[in-house]
Each structure stands twice: as C-alpha cells, then as structure tokens.
Subunit: 339 residues, 2 copies
C-alpha cells in the first residue's frame, strides 16, 4: 500500500487470490464466478479500493459502453428503438449513452468526436438528414470499431444496416387506398435527398402503376413532414379539388392534415381516406383513428444491439457487413374504412 | 516529427504560432480568434494531425461533455427538457450525452459509474423512482463535479434543484374543478414515496380544505400513472358512483381513463370533468381536448444547463446550491368546460 492508495495487488494479497482474477472480478468479467466476485468486491469495499476506470480502460481498450446517435429522442419510433437497444445491451453487460444530432451534420460531427474521446466500443446510428459524406464516421471506423446503421441506410464500407422494406411498405399503403376506391391519391414525402424517402416514393409509384393509375407529380408534396408541413400540404390538396386519398410518410403530417381537413368540413374517410406511417401512439387515439404502417421498432433496436455486441466481441479488422431488411405491417383503422 | 506522428509542436513550428495557442485552437477555446483557429485547423488537417483527445482530457481534466440522466426519453416532458439543455449547452461549447435509468436504481448506479469513467464535467438529473439513497451520486460529487437536479427534488448536499411549484400547481388544478361545481373529485397520484407526488397530493388536499370539501381517502388512487393504471383507476371510479371530477397527476393516465369512461357512456365534462398534468401534445388533440397543467419544460432545461455550466466553469470545492422554483400554467380546454 503505497501513499495510502489501495491497489489490486493489495486486495490480491489480502485474499490470497491472484491479481488477474481480482482485476477480472472488478471488471465484472463473466469468467469469474459470482461467489468469487462477491468475496473480492466485499474486500475491495472494506479496504476502500477506488478503481481507476480510466487507466483500466486504457489498458483493456474496452469501456463496455455503446452509443446511440440519432436525430431526435422525442420521436416515438426512435424512443422505441432505444428501448430495444437498451434491453439487449444491458443484458450483454453494456451501458448505453444516447446523443441527438437534431438532423444537423455539424452537431453529428461533434458527437462522433466526443464518442471517440469517450472511447465507446461501438455505435448504433440513424444518420442526420444532412449527412451525405461520411468522413467523420470513417474516422471512428478507422479505430477498428463497429457502427450499425438503422432506419436511414448508410453506404459506409463494412457496416451493417438494419432497415424495414420501405418500398414494399409504401406499396402496401398505396395499394390499400386504391382497393378502397381512391383514384386521386396525394403523397406526402420527406426530403428526396434521402434514400429512405426515395424508396418510399418508388413504392407509391409502383402501386399506382400496377393499377394503371397515372402518376400526377402535382399530387406529390415534399417537405420535412412537420406538423406545419402537414397543414400547408393539406391546404394545397383542397385547392386541387380532385384528391380522394392521402398517404403520408409519417403520422405527424398525416394527423395535422386530418385536423385541418376536418376543420374545413371534409369527411374522413368518406371524402378523403388517409394512411400514415409509424404507428405513433396518437394514431390510435385521434378520431377517426389513423390507418398507418407499424415498423418493428423494438425489434430493430434488439437486432442492431445484438449485431453490434457481436461485432465488438469478435473484433476483427474487417467487420463483416450483416444487413437485415425487416417487414412492416399495415394497421387498418377508421381513417381508410370506406365501404 | 518523431515516428511520423504529427504533434502540436510541429504545427506550431510550421506556422510560427506558439504551441499553447495551437493547443487552445485545437480545443476550440474562445480565447483564440476565429481567424487564427481557421489557419491552425487548416494546417492541422493539411499535415494530418490526429488529436489525442484522451491524453488531452487527462491533462486539462475537462471533457466538455455533460450528461443528462433521467427515467425515460420517450416522455414528452423529458424530451422537451433535453431540448432546452442541449440548446444552452451547445452554445456554451458542451456536448450532451443522455442516459435512461428506466426508473431502476441499479441501472442508475451503473450509469453514474460509466459517467465517472467517461469523466463528464457535470450531470443534470431526474432521479429514478427507486432512488432513496444517494451514495452513487455522492461518489460523483466527491470528484468536485456538479450535479443539478430537476423534476424530482433531491436533497443531496450542495446541489441545485430546478422544479416547478408542485403544491401550487395541484392546488390550482383542484380549485378549477371545484369552481366548475365538482364536489366529489377523484385524484390519481404517483407513488407517494416520491417527494414530488407528496407535494401534489398536499396541493389537492389544501384546495379541498379551502372550499370546505371533506377529503375522502377512497377518492385517492396511487399508481405508476401508466395507461393501464388509468384504466384500472377509472373502473374503480365508476364503482364509487359519486365521482363528478377527476384530477390526474399525468396526462397518460387521465387520457386512458377518459377513453375508458367514454366507452362506458360517461359524458366528459358533463358527468365527470377531467384535468391532467404535463400538457403532452396528445392532450390538445383528443376529444374532448384535455385541461392540463403546462410545465415550462424547455425553460427548465435551459436554466439547469446554464446553472451547470456556471458551476463547471467557476469550479469551487463547495458548489453553492442555487435552487429555483418555477411556476406552471393551467391550460383550460373542453374536458372541464362545464357551464
């Protein structure tokens, strides 16, 4: 015991257990039995041992921390993905820290730089709307650490992507409106700079094509799909006079549009049938309840987390890409229940 | 340039700028002009300088990272507080990482231990429902680093608390129902182990007392205020037959109770008037729209963040407690509009 500072070796000596076992126990390694861990932890507490985590992390090159980087925690979809990630990560012995990019590339860059400093073992990420070059992500990858992307596809080399089939989801939503008799279907799209929204637009067009309905570019409204965007686009829909169906690429815009249309005495679904995307909790509660697409958000989180932990623990210089495409589900409610 | 590794001194030599200025520029210090920073950063990029943040952090003992620890990011109130924190912190040059305790004390302990390892400069925190001893928080405080609490009061020494006036908010909500003619007001409370819910219950009781209405313990329903809890308590309300007003300590339980009561042909507000708490976005959208209490969540975040950064930057061994009590606002909507 030098300078009053208790070390692992002091605990080792006091218990007659070799110091590597003591170290493993203090790092909560699964290689040490629960009973031995208990004895070591009790002794450590008794003698007032203070673990120098930073030094320990520098040695093992592991922090048992993973980071989730995404646009905004307040969106139901993202919050549910986080829940799935945390459940799996926690079971595997990893702590989770969350960072919001607010869809701002500069902020995302600062976050990645912080995560490099904090030496997180891996990142699960939905990139910002502004992220078109991946230099900052490459810097993290160069450390030999894995990134798993979800929601918004990212083509960074040797990274896994967990996504839903956006084309098929959109195709199903549009087809549902067509089968309900809609012939003039408006579509609310997110920014077409983003791969995900291009895929969804293609699904919408493919469904129209399959049913020999001419695609009308005036029926497609590109925006950030905010509440205000929903109202703005709804106003334009009314001016068109012909619209009898609306498919929106998120529930937020679908719901604000519905509220606006109702205030103008448009009947839903009789005059205009509506389908949203995301299955936000509010979609089941508003009147009429909103037909929407449910993404398996919790499952996406679990799969992403499992994959990341796998890649962290079987660390290779070249992490194999293991992408997954999941199915979504159309939930039919009253907003599209035309007879 | 030893071993091909570029150092701050190489950049200093190449530009003829002293190395402490180079170091400050690379740390984005406000003490270096924007123009000088630009010159230095460009040169650093040009020569391929890789900053060793970890070593740099060890030297300066600062990471310019603050952490937000709270029960669950998916709740609107917490998500809005985070937005306020991030806006202020980002402007002050701090990155924000977020961790969820899921109202679990063990998880909260692991988080604090991770944050100690990650050497975050300060913590903004709403403690878990299970947190009744503060040993783990004391460990962080011992490092001479500040914690600012919000939402759920915490009596840890020398820590600031940013809260709303829960007693007064509850008093106002209850009084509103009384003035609308309600005489038998049910109250949905959160766990009374928690200071915040005790304060709110006291506000409810004080309003009844002021109007000479006898407090009936059977009218008080303690739960976790989940959706299911709201339905369970609503069932019990119906059995009582006398209830003509309902005040719920969150919107989630108020709304699920309203949905249940409506399904049993109870008219709101005519038969039972309802007031919630939190002003979740959904409260304005459901029918009838819900009278509720709006907390200044964004402002709470900004104040907490400002206070924390202040305490980080004027670091003293004894951080002075600077608690604040904010006012809330009763938002009157249709669920309590009795004539």
């Amino acid at each position: 015991m030098k300078n009053g500072k208790i070390t692992i070796h002091d605990i080792s000596k006091a218990l007659g257990i070799d110091s590597s076992t003591v170290s493993r126990a203090l790092n909560d390694s699964p290689r040490v039995s629960k009973k031995t861990k208990e004895i070591i932890l009790n002794k450590a507490k008794e003698v007032g041992y203070q673990r120098n985590s930073l030094a320990s992390n520098l040695r093992t090159n592991k922090t048992h921390t993973i980071a989730v980087v995404l646009p905004r925690v307040s969106r139901y979809f993202f919050a549910t993905v986080i829940a799935g990630i945390e459940e799996t990560a926690y079971e595997a012995g990893y702590n989770v820290i969350i960072c919001q990019s607010l869809d701002n590339l500069n902020r995302e860059k600062k976050i990645i730089s912080t995560l490099i400093s904090n030496r997180v073992d891996g990142i699960i990420m939905s990139i910002s709307m502004e992220t078109t070059n991946y230099e900052h992500l490459q810097a993290y990858k160069k450390l030999g650490k894995p990134i798993v992307f979800f929601d918004r596809p990212c083509s960074l080399n040797n990274c896994s992507n967990i996504n839903i089939n956006n084309f098929q989801s959109s195709f199903n939503a549009t087809k549902h409106l067509i089968l309900k008799g809609c012939k003039h279907i408006a579509y609310f799209s997110g920014s077409l700079d983003i791969e995900l929204y291009r895929q969804r637009k293609n699904g919408y067009i493919a469904a129209l094509n399959e049913h020999n309905i001419k695609v009308n570019e005036h029926y497609i409204f590109e925006s950030n799909l905010s509440e205000e965007d929903g109202i703005k686009s709804a106003k334009k829909i009314l001016q068109l006079k012909s619209i009898d169906g609306l498919y929106s690429s998120n529930d937020t815009a679908a719901i604000s549009a519905m509220q606006y249309l109702k205030s103008k005495n448009i009947r839903i679904p009789e005059d205009i049938a509506v389908v949203g995307f995301n299955n936000d909790p509010i979609s089941a509660i508003i009147e009429p309840s909103l037909t929407t697409i449910n993404q398996p958000a919790f499952k996406i989180g679990k799969i992403a987390s499992n994959l990341l932990v796998d890649q962290i623990e079987n660390k290779t210089t070249n992490i194999k890409e293991q992408s997954k495409l999941l199915n979504s589900e159309l939930i039919i409610r009253n907003s599209s229940k035309k007879v």
